[in-house]
Each structure stands twice: as C-alpha cells, then as structure tokens.
Amino acid sequence: MTFSPALEERFAKLLTSYPAGRTRSAVVPMLLYAQDELGWVSRELIEEVARRTGVTAVQVDEVIGYYSMLRRHPIGKHLVQVCTNICCMVVGGQDLFEHASKTLGVGHKGTTTDGLFTLEEVECMGACSWAPAIQVGYDFHHQVTPERFDRLIEGLRNAEAETRKV
C-alpha cells in the first residue's frame, strides 16, 4: 500500500520513536493515523501495518476490537459523536443524542443515506465543564443545544452541496 507523503513521514517517524526492537509500539498509532486518511481499517491495511512493524497480522487484528476508535467498516464523511455520559446527561446530553438521531434520521452507528454523516453515541470525551458536548470528526463543539446542532449539520450539508456544484 502507498499512503500520502505526510502519512509516510509520520510512519517513518513512528518506526524510530520506540526503543530498538519495539516497533510493535507503532501499531495502534499507525492504524489510527491511517484510518484518518483512509476512513477505516481494511484487511489490506492490517497486513501492511503488520509488515511494516514486523508483527503478525493477527497481532494487529487483535487490537482493533479493543480500541473503540478503530473500525473495520467505512463510515459517512462526517463522524458525529454525541456524549451522553453523566456530565453531559445531566445537562441534556441524552436529549441531544435523541434530537441528533431525529435530525439525521439514523440511530447509533447509523449512516445517512447520502453517506454524509455517521452518528455515534460515545463515552466521556473530556469536555465535561462545557457540556453537553459533541465531536464532529476531531473538532469539539461545546454547550450544544438542539438548535446549534441543526445549524451545524445544515452548514456541513450546504458546504457539501457547494463542493458538488464546483
């Protein structure tokens, strides 16, 4: 497999970041950084990471089931993650998730038919003092109301329509 120059550079750095003979340490970061570029972890990627880190494919495979951010299937263009853990829940996080589900027309881990959004209910994301919080991709949004949520989604939909026109 070949990756973008930026990712290749990151990989090269990862492989020299750990003590001698410890390239296995690069497995999780490589999977996550590659997933950021490719959208998901394919069989081919597992084998490529195994080859580059010098471990067996099964040693790479076994970590994927453990880490909640790694996924074996493609998802929508924007991953919308809504926290419903206690700090968000007590100020409306659960209601926000239900609202998001209605707005997008999908449930937990569902993807909209246009392939634009995947919704996910997630655990604490580290924005407790500014709850309820969501992440769209890696971007944090704090103190999200249902109205703000809808505006955000609308904005992303419009941006997508613009790029399609061009």
């Binding site: 970041s17 750990y18 003590p19 410890r22 296995r24 340490s25 690069a26 497995v27 999780v28 970061p29 999977l31 996550l32 950084y33 950021d36 880190t53 471990v55 040693q59 076994e62 970590v63 453990y66 880490y67 909640s68 951010m69 790694l70 419903t84 853990n85 206690i86 700090c87 829940m89 007590v90 100020v91 239900e98 449930g107 937990h108 881990k109 209910e121 655990e123 604490c124 994301m125 580290g126 924005a127 407790c128 003092s129 500014w130 709850a131 992440q135 890696y138 971007d139 704090h142």
Partner: protein, 434 residues
C-alpha cells in the same frame, strides 16, 4: 483557548499562562521563566531533586493521589536498563477535562516537568500518551516538542549537560482502561490495554520492561513551579500533605461550570456558591460527585468539606481526578447510577471476571429497574454485587464501577424504593453502546 471565564478566586500556578497570546509557543514560555526550573535541576543531584519533590507534598493528580516524590524514589538506579518517562494524558474519567487545557495552552510546561523527571533518572526518552480523541492536541504538543529540540532543550547533550533525551507523543485509540497505568504501558507496547499484575509496579518494571516514572499530565505540569518557587512555597498553598493547587473541573447544575485552579483544601461549598455562581435555576443541591464518576457521591449535607485528598477521603469518598459533578434536587439518581454503570461496563477490558461479569450484571439489573421492571430485592442485590466486586479485581476499574454504585444505594435508598412505587416509567431507549 479558554472555554470558561476564569474566577477571581483562582490561584494560578499551572494555569498562569493560560489565555495569554501564543501561550503554547516556546518564546512566550521562555519570556515567562520557561525552562528556568529545569536549568536549576541540572545542578542538583537526583537525591536533592527527589527530596525537594517530597518536601513540596505534591501528590498525583490522576486519581490515586500518591506522593510524587515517593513514587520517583522507587525507581531503581544502576539496573543496567534505561529508565523511561511516561506522561499519562489519557484523560478519560467522566467529569475530567483539565489535561486537555494543559496541553492546549501550555505544552512547554509539561515538557519541562518531564525533562526534570528525565534528568533525575538520566532517562533516554519520554512518551506523552494522549487519548485518541484529542487529536488536535497531538499536533500542538508535537509542535512544542519540535521547538524544544530547536532550542536545545531536547536531543543530544542538552544544554551542555552531556545528557541526551528525546520526547515523543503516542496516541491512544479510545479506551478508558488505558488510563490505568499498567494498561497504558501495554497499550504503549502495541497491545490491547489490559492491566498487568502488580507488583512489580511500573517504577521497577514499567515501559518496555524497564524502570519508569509514570505521572499524570497535571502532575508533571506542576513540577516546574516547585523548582522555580520552592517546595516550601508549593506545600504552603494547601493543607499539610496536600501541596499546591489543583485544576478543579466543575460540571453539572451550577451557573458557571468550568475548570478553575484552586488551592487544595478549598471549601467545596465556596466552589459551588462563589466560584461557580451557585446552583442553576435556584435549585437545591442534592449531591456532589467529588472526584470523577468513580468517586462515591456526597449528599448535600456532607459537602461542607475542603477539597484536598485527605479531607475527601475522611468523608469516605476520593479526590480522584478532580472532576466535580454538582447535582441538583431534580436529579434522577437511579438514572445516574444506570448511566454510570453502563460506562464502566462498556469500558471493562474483560480481563478479570469480577469486573467483566459484575459490571454486566449490574447494568442488566439497573436497566430493568430503571425501565420499570424493578423488584424490591433488587436494591440489596445491586448493593451486594457491587460490594462483591470491590477490591477483587486486577485494577481499579472494578472498584471504580463498584464504589459509585453501592454508594448511590446506601445514600439514596429512598429514591430507589420510590422508583418501585411509581407507575412504570417510559422505557428508555437502549443506549446501544455495545
């Protein structure tokens, strides 16, 4: 960037550069006594550094509150193996959002704290383990690390000391369990984050099977100030054996939730009423979860305490990670207990049975109870299962699940009983986290 207005009652030590323009850049840091503490420690022996840390009474800010100087003193020297420095920035305890601010606003302070640790044990390398969700912080910290190399604070022969040290960032990929130090070390080695049997503790056999100093991000970040302004000064900020300040992450039903840096021992009720502007909508206080979701809750009448490790322990809870969740009179405790156990059930790594089975059964019973299918004997059953888990697991996750659960029952039994009398509430949708 600051996400909430600071309070005039704050005592800014680790957050003193927050909000300044370009606070994350090395020039800003150097202009404000940056790396001065590290330069000072270059002239000190390891014993002198550790003694100073002990005198500061700095205690770990990640959860356990273990004395940092003592932890460092456990690292054996002359084993023939290198020693490593690990920063735990896997911040995942519900209620906690401070490491994020430390890395975003002042990454050089963290690097300097790690450098002091590295120099103390003559370590060749340090790793900053950052939770995967904090991707933007990896870029910020990587830039800061690159700046530190450019200015000679990292790399070969640092400031002419003859000592070489490298620092790397390492991303997690979504797992609460990796905040547990031995699980973090497994994850760092590219494996599933499953806790190790202890002893040996990480100080002796840690990263890559070598001696290791492993501390929380806020703990490392507090270290430069100790060597700049003195251990005595730092210790005097808080009550005896509880030196310094702490970033208190307040969430829930207050008017001004936010992260505030306050001296240890600061009264909880003043935090709620003065720093956070009181209860939202004029409601009454029902309970406070004082140290992240794993800490046993305090009823309103138990909240007249200072926020330091020993005072909170005396109230039979724990200061934990500094996540303070304030709950008003309308809070549904049964719903809260259910959501809490759902989290721990989801995050249990499955390695040891009391935790894996205990959290699963607690979730099933609480789900049924909350959904209107509760039975009177369930209350004792939930309590018994949680008590049965406590202290019987490989790592603290089992305890973290058990403690809030049995405490909710003990302190709010009346609410659980009232639930039985109510007409069957609407079935809550299955939180399909599995």
């Amino acid at each position: 960037m600051l996400y909430n207005e600071p309070s005039p009652l704050e005592v800014k030590v680790v957050t003193r550069r927050f909000g300044k323009p370009d606070s994350e850049k090395i020039d800003t840091y150097l202009a404000d006594e940056g790396y001065e503490a590290f330069k000072k420690t270059l002239t000190l022996t390891p014993e002198a550094i550790i003694d100073e840390l002990k005198a500061s009474s700095l205690r770990g800010r990640g959860g356990a509150g273990f004395p940092t100087g003592l932890k460092w003193s456990f690292v054996p020297r002359n084993t023939g193996k290198p020693a490593y420095i690990i920063c735990n920035s896997d911040e995942s305890e519900p209620g906690t959002c401070k490491d994020r601010l430390l890395m975003e606003n002042d990454p050089h302070q963290l690097i300097e704290g790690m450098l002091i640790a590295g120099w103390t044990v003559r370590s060749p390398a340090g790793y900053i383990f950052i939770r995967g969700e904090y991707r933007y912080l990896i870029d910020i910290v990587d830039r800061a690390v690159a700046e530190a190399y450019e200015r000679g604070f990292l790399g070969k022969n640092i400031l002419g000391s003859g000592w070489d040290h490298d620092i790397y960032t390492h991303t997690g990929a979504g797992a609460y369990e990796c905040g547990e130090e031995s699980a973090l070390l497994e994850s760092l080695e590219g494996k599933r984050g499953i806790p190790r049997l202890k002893p040996p503790f990480p100080a002796v056999v840690g990263a890559f099977q070598c001696p290791t100093i492993l501390n929380n991000c806020e703990t490392f970040s507090a270290i430069p100030a100790i060597f700049r302004q003195g251990a005595e000064w730092f210790a005097s900020l808080g009550p005896p054996k509880n030196g310094g300040t702490r970033m208190m992450c307040v969430s829930g039903h207050v008017n001004k939730p936010g992260v505030y840096e306050l001296p240890l021992g600061f009264p909880l009720m003043r935090l709620i009423n003065e720093v956070c502007g009181g209860m939202r909508n004029g409601k009454k206080l029902k309970a406070v979860i004082p140290g992240g979701s794993s800490s046993p809750c305090l009823r309103a009448e138990e909240c007249d305490i200072g926020l330091d490790f020993d005072s909170i322990a005396k109230a039979k809870s724990m200061a934990g990670s500094g996540g303070i969740v304030v709950l008003d009179e309308d809070t549904d405790i049964v719903g809260l207990a259910l959501r809490t156990i759902k989290f721990y059930q989801h995050e249990s790594c499955g390695w040891c049975i009391p935790c894996r089975e205990g959290t699963t059964w607690l979730k099933k019973i609480l789900e049924r109870y909350h959904g209107g299918g509760g039975r009177e004997k369930d209350i004792d059953l939930i309590h018994e299962i949680a008590k049965g888990m406590f202290g019987r697991t490989f790592c603290a996750l089992g305890d973290a699940a058990a403690m809030p659960t049995y405490t909710f029952i003990e302190k709010f039994r009346d609410e659980f009983e009232a639930y039985l009398q109510k007409s069957r509430p609407k079935q809550i949708p299955e939180l399909a986290l599995l």
